[in-house]
Amino acid sequence: MVKKRLKKKVLTKKKVKKTLRGKPLKRRTAEKKKASAEKKAPAKKRKVSARPVAGKKPQKKPAKKVLAGRKKKTKSGIAPKARKSAVKKTVSKKGEALKRKRKPASKSKAKAKASRRKRPAVHISEIATATLGFEEIVSQVSEGREEEAKLTGSKFDIGVDHNAHAMPLQDIPNGYDKNQVMVLVVDPRFVFTYWEVRHETMMEAQNRFNHQGKLTLRFYDVTHDHNPETAPSWDVEVFDRLGNWYLRLERPEQRICLDVGVKGPSGEFWRMARSNVMRLPPQSLAAPGPIKWMVVTPAGETLTSDSEDYTEADLTLLKKILGPYFFDLLMRGRFASIAGSSVEAIFYDVEALRTMPSPGESPSSPLTWAHR
């Protein structure tokens, strides 16, 4: 009886351990779950025997500190650094209300993760025949960017997560007692803005509107009409006199600025500060226009030489240079999400598309690029 109970205890312990360790378990498919469960125990043993101490008997339990160093490992063998969602915090340490509206960003990351779960490893041979959808490819590729960020971050990886205990944490001011608002570009569809309103100004405004006024951000679309007073605008009500906000916009290349102020009960707006003007970056190829040429000599003299019209032939040339696939991405305004990406699987997939033999194409157009 005692033995039985002990056995049970051990089993439950193991179970707990498995669920704790095995976060990836949830991610795997049913078949893989089974396979990994079978492999789990020997894998643990092997881990110990792989230590570089020759001739030593493998210990049953590796020392805690040994494990501590490994926790960082993930399935792909890369520390989970850049994986942290970009938009986790909603309230800052200093009590500022950060009203985050950036759900789409985290969604896309989740999507990228989901696609990673589905396709653990893509072999080159598989890719030639694989028919991935557009969205899938983009999500795979943007995952490559994350990988790149991890590699870049590896130079800060010395095997520990936390340090700097020896350094004192200095206190910095929350705000600077001034009325101000600033807007900055995050990407072609997001801007970041932060503002501060002085306590005295806030009191003054409340007296003015008999405590009925509401703190408001008034955004102006100054793309065509550069004067905010007459430009189209919209309001966002906020609650803190010191805070920040992410705003999603529908149109890239928009010019935008904003006011922070108080809106009275009858709709009148009392401005406290105006921001700088920001122009969102473009998301795709510019409209056709003349191609200007310029000569800059090594000594630094510049000569504008000539210009030519942008013709269909130029567009065809660009298509040939990029390949039909990247060209398509560019025209759809999706190039930035994949530019410089690093998933070679996509490289091969795209190459297969790009080097499809077409009549009249250059003979050196390589079909054998992807050989390894």
Binding site: A121, P168, Y194, L285, K292, P298
Partner: protein, 541 residues
């Protein structure tokens, strides 16, 4: 020199021997980490690892290439903080201490692994570390910047600068003066170390926004780099895509990153660095061996850290790792170099056919990827340069400056705002984990400009305080802190560094405003944050 090469170049182009150019750009950067107030400081390890695994091997590689009369060219950005650390006597001394300690461990390891499958790797470490000490202490007299300058003067390497403290310009533009100072201070620092003004710049994180190009031109900088979409989304359509530079209206040339060559190297899983025979980055004896054995070589507080001794190869997605075989890995690196060259040849031929002129393929990478993350990366580069020089003539190595000398006529179009971070814009440096810093960075920049304009002729003490304020502000602006906060490792240090510099800056500002300057505090800061000794705060005016 250029003229003679120019003629040869034109002849080669005329006979259609050269189908394209390959321009390698290695971006070497580490944040300024130097803590004289502590005997040992964990984050100084970043610098030590970079030195042993990347910077010294790169110099060694160049020396070998020159010795063997291999004609090679590449571009390297050495950021001002990195140059300052490389030339700092305290860090030089500490690095030598670190190196000596590693060599001591390497001898012990030689005995411990004798007769085991790990012996070959232990011998390699022992040899490499002792060679690194010779290169560092004797060959370059502890100053690696002199080494890079040497190869620049030989015409093999083009060293370019970077933003003064790697400030991410698109997020600093709330204060245009801060953006200008990041560039002008960097150029001055470069001149001090390299003996001439820089011709090119690597904008931190490739962070560009329209307008930066004008500031660059005003500082005498002739070329910079943007990510592919910076060129493709330019204000007018780029005729040759990313395979020819664009001139900004003033004349600064922007080179775009080639996304294909990037992919082959950058990808951790499918790219070269993910090959199963290469060394595994995470298995380190600092974590694997008995605590007492490694105790003298980890952090003095007893925290286990990486020691740089790694004996396993990647093996696969498994916890079980096979022993690392340096010779096999070298063979793989050579074959990967061949593959990379083969792909560039085909790419150049194809592009030459469609474009009717040789393309320039710009392949930029983080320098620390080579050697530090991808241990065999430097060997790969070495093989690649040798193969390109000896085995073919389709692709030619070139620096952007040489390209501009040979092809001074290019399309004029301002690139679009972009970065090489995840998703291509500023999200990595501006999200919920790190956006709180910008309020403080901008305010500090406004205050710096205010004081710089109102104090034209300060007395000696005030000038020292103002210069120190400029140093503190620049150090706070480093994009690394936001990057680390976003990445989730060592966050505490990044937060403390940012707050520390802002706090020091704010205290100095308030002291100056209230006419109660504490010179002992200024002296202490000058001792701790001694970057840019010749800085002039008027850069912010």
């Amino acid at each position: 020199m250029i003229r003679r090469t120019d003629t040869r170049q034109k002849r080669e182009e005329a006979t259609n021997v050269t189908k394209g150019y390959l321009s390698f750009v290695l971006h070497a950067h580490l944040p300024y980490v130097r803590h004289p107030e502590h005997e040992e400081f964990l984050e100084e390890q970043w610098f030590f690892e970079g030195m042993t695994e990347t910077y010294i091997p790169l110099l060694d590689m160049m020396e070998g290439l020159v010795r063997d009369n291999i004609d090679f060219r590449f571009t390297m950005s050495l950021t001002p903080p990195l140059m300052s650390m490389m030339t700092d006597p305290l860090l030089q001394e500490r690095y030598l201490r670190h190196l000596n300690r590693s060599i001591e461990l390497a001898w012990k390891e030689l005995h411990r692994t004798r007769g085991t499958p790990f012996q070959a790797a232990a011998e390699m470490y022992n040899h490499k570390l002792r060679h690194a000490r010779w290169l560092f202490a004797d060959r370059w007299n502890r100053n690696l910047v002199a080494g890079f300058r040497h190869f620049q003067e030989l015409g093999k390497l083009e060293v370019i600068t970077c933003c003064a403290t790697h400030g991410f310009l698109p997020m600093l533009r709330g204060s245009p003066e801060a953006v200008r100072a990041q560039i002008s201070v960097a150029c001055d620092s470069y001149e001090k170390h390299m003996g001439r003004r820089p011709r090119g710049i690597w904008l931190a994180e490739c962070g560009y926004f329209p307008g930066v190009d004008d500031i660059l031109w005003d500082n005498g900088i002739r070329f910079f780099f943007v990510d592919s979409h910076g060129i493709l989304h330019a204000e007018s359509r780029p005729k040759y895509g990313v395979y020819a530079p664009l001139y900004s209206p003033k004349g600064t040339a922007a080179f775009g990153r080639d996304y294909e060559s990037s992919k082959q190297v950058w990808s951790a899983k499918e790219g070269y660095p993910g090959d199963l025979n290469y060394r595994d980055f995470y298995r380190d004896i600092g974590f694997d061996l008995d605590y007492e054995y490694v105790r003298p070589y980890i952090h003095p507080d007893g925290i286990r850290i990486m020691t740089g001794f790694k004996y396993h190869r990647i093996t696969g997605e498994t916890a079980h790792k096979e022993p690392y075989n340096p010779h096999a890995a070298r063979e793989i690196a050579a074959s990967h170099a061949g593959n990379f060259m083969f792909n560039r040849q085909r790419q150049a031929e194809y592009l030459f056919d469609v474009m009717g002129k040789p393309p320039i393929i710009v392949a930029p990478y983080d320098a620390e990827l080579y050697g530090h993350w991808w241990y065999e990366g430097v060997d790969w580069l070495n093989f690649l340069f040798r193969k390109i020089a000896c085995d073919q003539s389709t692709v030619k190595l070139i620096t952007p400056w040489e390209y501009l000398c040979w092809h001074p006529k290019n399309q004029m179009a301002r690139p679009s705002e972009s970065s090489w971070g995840n998703k291509g814009y500023a999200e990595v440096w501006c999200n919920g984990t790190n956006d709180w810093i910008y309020r403080h960075l901008h305010e500090a920049a406004f205050r710096m400009t205010e004081l710089a304009r109102s104090h034209a002729t300060p007395d000696d003490n005030l000038r020292r305080a103002l210069n120190q304020m400029a140093r503190e502000l620049l150090l706070a602006q480093s994009s690394d802190w936001a990057f680390i906060m976003n990445s989730g490792t060592m966050v505490e240090y990044a937060v403390k560094r940012t707050k520390d510099h802002i706090w020091r800056f704010t205290k100095l500002y308030e002291d100056i405003k209230n006419l109660r300057l504490d010179m002992s505090f200024v002296s202490e800061l000058e001792w701790k944050d001694n970057i840019f000794p010749e800085i002039d705060y008027k850069a912010f005016a």
